[in-house]
Subunit: 426 residues, 2 copies
């Protein structure tokens, strides 16, 4: 019997356990995961980019607090591979129109960003900005790059190092881990059991008392935190709890910087102090993330309408998805990559809420804390989501953030949620 059970040793589970232990040092905590070590699910499959550039106040607080916390770790000498290389949005006429309201709101909020002349981008990155007359661009409905937006409070990190950081801290603080332990069901019981077959009945106060796992039953005296990411929905719906989020497959492809021109692109100067290209977003949601240590690019795209919400286990890379789904955009703006072929890659799942904001709430006063729905922002918001989940588990209305600011816990809940429209969606 532990005080707290945390289900899932991904970024959200780790951060939740970390802040629970920080806020309640005497508590006994067990983190359960079906993987053989921490971060072995979608956390380790993240493209791990971050930005403090959102219009929704909750998004902004979550990201800026997490980035600040990670920066502190990095500066303390524990290398997270954190590089503030910036985000660069390349906008054609259509995407410019889409992001216009977001940039106006950013101006109003005083969020810093810069416009960069597309010709300068062309020169520094070697991308093609003028696609007039290209038959491929015409067919795909892609326009010339008419504006570029650079956000400097943004960058990349190494998710495995972040996982190691939390894991080391947690182990040395006495938090327990049960790996290779798959949660089969959540145990729902009345608070005052009568010993009648079929309990709990609707008139009984019921709670989530623990879990049945592949290694036996484990119970929690206080709270069970479901930080199950893409597995949240299917696990929770069996006991009538809405995870608010759903899993969707995502893929990352690795392209080697195998030519002089691509090397020059990877090591583009003028955008940041590292001499690395920024995390770059092309029109239609295609991104290029530099991975300088591998002398490679990671590329991907968000495909929304059409692809079902479902878990694929294990998720497989689809060659056609690169060739037909990404390459037409990539080769239009980066002709040098037209002939490249992925040297590898991986697939995983996003855990997506309808509004893109993570969800943290306790349904039906059940002692179950749902902490999921990071919607592809697990790394960049994970630490703060853990703070909110830990605060809720401890019965607090507010979560103290790394920035010193605090955030109402209900902003990530299902009622009282911070429902402002996020205008800076990629």
């Amino acid at each position: 019997m532990y005080d707290y059970l945390v289900l899932g040793a991904g970024i959200v589970g780790l951060a939740t356990a970390y802040h629970l232990k920080r806020l309640d040092p005497d508590a006994s905590i067990l983190v359960v995961d079906k993987g053989s070590g921490p971060g072995s699910g979608d956390t380790g499959r993240s493209a791990a980019a971050f930005r403090a550039f959102f219009t929704n106040r909750a998004n902004m607080l979550l990201a800026s607090s997490s980035i600040r916390f990670y920066r502190g770790i990095q500066e303390s000498g524990f290398d997270l591979g954190m590089r503030f290389i910036g985000y660069l949005w390349l906008l054609d006429e259509r995407s410019r129109r889409r992001v216009e309201a977001g940039l106006r709101e950013a101006d109003r909020l005083g969020l810093p960003y810069e416009h960069v002349d597309p010709d300068l981008v062309a020169e520094r990155l070697g991308v093609r900005v003028d696609v007039e007359g290209s038959e491929e661009a015409e067919l795909a409905g892609l326009g010339s790059i008419v504006d570029a937006v650079l956000v400097k409070e943004a960058g990349i990190l190494d998710p495995d190092r972040l996982v190691e950081y939390y894991y080391e801290k947690l182990v040395s603080a006495g938090v327990h881990f049960a790996f290779n332990t798959e949660v089969e069901t959540l145990i729902v019981e009345p608070r005052r059991p009568l010993g009648i077959e079929g309990e709990p009945f609707p008139w009984q106060d019921a709670r989530v008392a623990g879990v049945k796992t592949s290694q036996g039953e484990i119970r929690a005296a206080k709270k069970v935190v479901a930080a199950l990411g893409a597995w949240c929905e299917s696990m929770l719906r069996t006991i009538g709890v809405d995870a608010v989020s759903k899993p969707k497959k995502r893929q990352v492809f690795t392209l080697r910087a195998a030519s002089e021109k691509l090397e020059a692109m990877l090591n583009a100067r003028g955008f940041n102090e590292y001499g690395i290209m920024p995390f770059t977003l092309l029109p239609r949601g295609v991104y290029i993330r530099p991975e300088p240590r591998e002398r490679a690019f990671w590329v991907g795209v968000s495909d929304d309408l059409g692809r079902p919400f479902e878990l694929e286990e294990p998720p497989a890379l689809e060659e056609n998805f690169y060739t037909l789904g990404i390459l037409p955009v990539l080769s239009t703006y980066v002709p040098e990559l037209a002939g490249a072929y992925p040297s590898g890659g991986w697939a995983g799942h996003y855990d997506i809420t309808p509004d893109g904001l993570p969800v943290v709430y306790e349904p039906y006063e059940s002692d179950l804390i749902v902490a999921c729905g990071t919607s592809g922002s697990g790394i960049m918001k994970g630490d703060a989501v853990g703070r909110v989940a830990a605060s809720l588990a401890l019965g607090m209305d507010e979560a103290e953030l790394a920035s010193g600011l605090s955030m109402p816990v209900r902003w990530l809940g299902v009622q009282g949620r911070m429902a402002e429209r996020e205008l800076l969606i990629i």
Copy 2:
């Protein structure tokens, strides 16, 4: 090819088609349903109670507008069986604490309600309000009724009559219906098809162009409205659209007023002009709805934690659910019903959103309008939900309500949603 396809001939689909036709009289509209007639899904299985008594502004506008619209129909001579018999909440100490904040907010908002002396309730309804010393009450954790709240702007109606009203109006306005027509999949297509296998690709603008049904393909030039209620989630997730709601089974049991005392309860005086008992809520979510024409009561309860979100087709009545889930509460407060046994009943599904507010939105500019998640309030909010869905389908930002007020369409959306906590949840 129709201008608009409405999937589902339940209350939301009917109301949406009705207001679409009203706002766009020249539009061609087809309503598709797998049932053999309108309202043959969960609409016809509703307990069909209504109240204009909510603290969330969107809930309040939806209910008050719908009630006003139905009242107009009733007063025009088309009998909806609409009776303003009131809602009566019987509160033990625990449920009083739960509803306290809601009542304070109701005071602030000026929502009318009355406190009724529990002894007067005992006298008029014949319920037992003092349960001190009852072993059964003690075991079930039920307390004496310490307060009763009567809401007069509330009552019951006949859902079949409401369905008939919309259906007659729609048929005479030239709206088409395809019954016995099951939607198999939604057709997702690029707006500018290239004829390449695997379309649409992520870089293409895609839309929901129609549906494949058991009777063949049907296409929509303008919008497809998914008013599929409990079937929304499973249908939409296959194309990567989040219905925001999930289906949960609910049951209604019929008890005959087979004694003089029960007859007197059914025909309780002093609460309304009809000489009918109000729709009465006991502690722990058990309700008693009078059905005077059948000389019967309908009883049910909301069971939340534990029962999975799933579709059961067809949903079956569970005898044990009455005996173990409802009867302990019912027999504590209405001893006369202790020996009664249901003469019948039926089961159906609620279509529940995490915050209890219906959802109306157009994901990914896809020409698909999601209109579902009425969360057990389909009858009481249905007409207004249809107004919002029709307004969104026509590209309007605001929906005009029956009350003459208007409501921002985004209040039911996924971003910009009216996220105020609803404090008057039963």
